[in-house]
Subunit: 697 residues, 2 copies
Amino acid sequence: MEKQMNRQVATWIWYPGEFEIRLHEKMSVARRARGVMYPAYWRLDRHYSNIKFRYSYELEQDEQIQIIADGTFSFYLDGMDNYRSSDSLITLPAGRHEISISVFNDVEVPALFIDGPTVRTDSSWEVTSYQNDWKQAGSWSFDSTVNPPSRFRLPTTPHEPVKITLRDGYPMVDFGRETFGYLRFHNIKGNGAVRVYYGESIAEALSTEDCVNLDRFEALEAIEQRINGIFTLNEAKAFRYVWIQGDPDVSWESVSMLYEYVPVEYRSSFECSDPKLNEIYDISLYTLQLNTREFFLDGIKRDRWVWGGDAYQAFLMNYYSFFDLDVTRRTLVALRGKDPITMHINTILDYTLYWFISLYDYHLYTGDFEFIRQYYDRAVSLMDFCLKQLNEEGLVEGRKQDWVFVDWADFNNEGAVSTEQILLARSLEAMSRFAALMGDDSASGSYGSLAEEIKSTTLRLFWDEGKGGLLHHRVEGETKPTLTKHASMFAMTYGYLSPEQRDSVVRNVMLNPDVPKIRTPYMRFHELAVLCESGEHDYVRKELLSYWGGMIDLGATTFWEEYDPSLADDDHYGMYGMKFGKSLCHAWGAGPIYLLGKYFLGVTPTSPGYESYRIAPNLGGLEYMKGKVPTGTGQVSVEMDLNTICVESTTGTGILAFFSSECPKCNEGEPREIVNGSYELTIEAGKKYHISYQPTK
Amino acid sequence: MEKQMNRQVATWIWYPGEFEIRLHEKMSVARRARGVMYPAYWRLDRHYSNIKFRYSYELEQDEQIQIIADGTFSFYLDGMDNYRSSDSLITLPAGRHEISISVFNDVEVPALFIDGPTVRTDSSWEVTSYQNDWKQAGSWSFDSTVNPPSRFRLPTTPHEPVKITLRDGYPMVDFGRETFGYLRFHNIKGNGAVRVYYGESIAEALSTEDCVNLDRFEALEAIEQRINGIFTLNEAKAFRYVWIQGDPDVSWESVSMLYEYVPVEYRSSFECSDPKLNEIYDISLYTLQLNTREFFLDGIKRDRWVWGGDAYQAFLMNYYSFFDLDVTRRTLVALRGKDPITMHINTILDYTLYWFISLYDYHLYTGDFEFIRQYYDRAVSLMDFCLKQLNEEGLVEGRKQDWVFVDWADFNNEGAVSTEQILLARSLEAMSRFAALMGDDSASGSYGSLAEEIKSTTLRLFWDEGKGGLLHHRVEGETKPTLTKHASMFAMTYGYLSPEQRDSVVRNVMLNPDVPKIRTPYMRFHELAVLCESGEHDYVRKELLSYWGGMIDLGATTFWEEYDPSLADDDHYGMYGMKFGKSLCHAWGAGPIYLLGKYFLGVTPTSPGYESYRIAPNLGGLEYMKGKVPTGTGQVSVEMDLNTICVESTTGTGILAFFSSECPKCNEGEPREIVNGSYELTIEAGKKYHISYQPTK
């Protein structure tokens, strides 16, 4: 105990959620369109400038503490608010007392750091925004006096270009693959202007009129700003290529960049008999890492914003790769924002709903309910907001000011869209679970029965027996005949369909060429997941190879926002009416991480925090695969070929599920045959399992 | 028309209300307690950092405009948001187009200034905070490019001390009367520290251990910061005296101050046969002016905050003196703040209710409904918030976190307090009127009937026939026997009592020495108003002379927060457990302005904006009085002695009401006898009326 006390350190504390809110405000205006600010088009929430901390102590003797605040502070004891001090050194009297400290900061998040022999700031302190809302203080890893939360920056590391060629007499610098950071000029000299054109593609960098990112500076100013001979541009950009046009009198020794990144750990792996698939997996990881930043971004060139639907997928990919929960929590807090709720997250109805489902997944994958408890009231009020939009039939509809997105596709989202109902039902199931964990059984019951009601109404009103799937939308009491894949996909994923309905959806909707194709990796993510859940691994593998492989064949070093194989040449780069409008490094392009980890290696939690889990490896037409999936602090390793499965896990208890046409042999444990040729084997942590099996036809 | 066009100037524009919100945030942390920040203890609302302006134009030819933003801006045309510009000079193409300009500023209010031959920023531009809330832009008097709203400062002017004496060898500088501003040292020299002790009283300045305001600076730093040989301290303070202790090596030529003020126009006057009353009136005006600042403050030394109940009275005083509507509007906007509403204004239930009543008064005195229209939705949501606090009997109660203030007095405000019910009924009447003016008859009806309901419930449950007044509060269905003046006072003022009840209240409550005395000028304001409404002018005059005159006798140059004649010497200065805690310049001390203007000169609007009004002058025991009251752009002048009344008005139509025991003679118009000896005469603008009358006994 003594030792533990000595190991405690003081840390910066603040009003919970405010670090994320303020960081999100800053990041939401970092996007540039040809050098011009392009801010997010939703309300940016702001931190409280005026807050107060409190802490009760009992000391046997007087103790001197040091007080540092990010902002202006005033200290008082035992509620004597007329007798305040702003001294940085205070001697606390012995006995039982309560410290109060007001902190005001209207620029950055007000934060407090107090260090003393025993009295020190940490998350056991309380804080209020003067709304009758005493809460446990927020804190993270800011343990140094000189490093308050307002100074948070991602780390950087220098990277050199891999190739420099001349184009029209100007250097075209190639960093080998998509990257993100600050361009640097070494030993720049002379007088004149330098113009920098960035490109995710070489075509973009060469297009001085249409490239999305550019810079322009005067050499004389750059020279003034050099540190150790290096001039670093002050805004980070996404690029692979930079084409640099300097005036004749300007010269420099070399160009490099500072790569800015989150130091994630690559905790998953996937390697298989198909090198192309390995490449797809690796590029997916890199694509995800580039978008794993202050928050999960949609894309690093564009929009550089935090979108709820994009983040929903990034969270899932993250559970199958870096398992970085810090960025997940930051993103969830930033997305929810503050009250009053007047608009949906990112203005999009579905994106609000993904937030609940993301929270559900967070709990399932991490087992951490404390985080959800902290934001439970914000979840409740967000759900209240959604439920105000139920129409007379009890279905959720977008208001005039809402964007009902679903996907980039040519469909009409008027009225009640079936996908939104499915997402709402799932969101209500999430709320029901959270309420139960909060100990509010009555609220849990209400959320649960409303979820059931919406599910059954949706199936009743949207299921088309003839077409064998859920129709797209319903306007003024009439379900329209349009059939899309989306609602059926989500209904399958969330287990809302009967076995017969599932079969029908796969046959009549998912694999039906007459139903409009999904063009974005965003919805391909869900589409392919559903197909895997129906055992169509072989089909999915081929789709991965053709769709993601297709991007690689076109030179992709990260995966794109959208890919249409029918386009030619530079037409691939256009979107939103801009020649280079498409993001070539889009988080939702990294879906193969999830598909390969969850459905090929086959690892899924079956109770929160991977206390129990299922391993259902599936080669999907491969001859061999090997990989691992993080499961919180632990991991599951899976290796499989046509006759052997090797599994090892560090924590929890798993069930290995596999098929074998003959009775399998195991070095450990006893496989149980569930039905014809389907076996299960209990996996205990710390043991290595080798199973010989005979593949079924 | 041509001329008007040419007279138009560009002006800074912003999201409406944000200038006030941001200014309020800054001012709410300006208070110091012995040099240490003492922030307001309620949530400080913040401006939106991310907004967008739009404007549609039609031009016959191209036009160049200049764009200046307070913040970062990006401009685009016709919704083409991927094609933005941040150039300060833009050529607008001829034809019909829509301009959009995003402005981001996370420190000060984002604001925009555009000037061109015909396209210029003004309040016809629209702005959104991205919440589906396009509004007319806010603007005021910021017409110069170099003077955006963030640079708003009150004007200052140099004032010299009137007397300097030595105390313990250190200069005691006396500025002659209470003042507010920045102390200045002329030609300061040498090396060492200077300590400044401020006092509203000389006792406070001499009390280095207990004075509320102090400063300390190093001469060397002061010398560095001199401008034209003058070092000005950078925080304004309230004081009459400063006691300056310099180290032996420090010297200066002289000390002066920069008086900081709102340049109000003294539009009222009152002069009478009693010089003491004249003095009371003048000191009241000065007291009010000192507290008329960025907002109406409670007091300039303490709290320097904006309080709803204090402001309610300051608004009324202002209508009878400066008629400065800018400060009134700023204060109303700042008090309401932004959503979500979680706490009452200043945490006080009654202060929220005064906000509605203040808005009602604003409309009555100014006739300006446009301002109310702009904030009507905020009034609706604030009322929604209040109505959630109705108990089972339909009475409003404070929640656990609410402060039910009523007055500084020793009474128990548990349960449903009768005063709060009266204030709520009046607030609902205000909302009913606003809803009707908004064209929402249904809402108007609901508010109106709820007001009636609360009125009748209150009279039924709180009126005590035996005691002849409204009892103080009701706890868990039982009205407690405590009798206080407050509820009865307000019920009289708002006309909720029958003539019999009014008589009873005056006799059994107001003039009953057994009912607890009111000690604050805050509630004396309402008490004396009610007595005037009952014709007790003579009594009120005597009270003015003894209570306010009592402060003058103690050397007051402005009126105090509280005055208790039974205290001795420096005990007058203590409050809140601090030896000099009392504010000696408190807005609510200036009530005589209102009492003398409204009840002695007798001027009251009877329809919004003084379109019609009543003049009921009453000498109240004086031999002579003369004065004027502003009535919007116009004014009413009244002069009266024991036999003559002279009245003149510049606008609207008034009724002069007076008593005469004989038939009065008028130079203009025809007085009508209403009842025995009570006469009315119609007053037309622009005419001088001389009436000879015979006073009644």
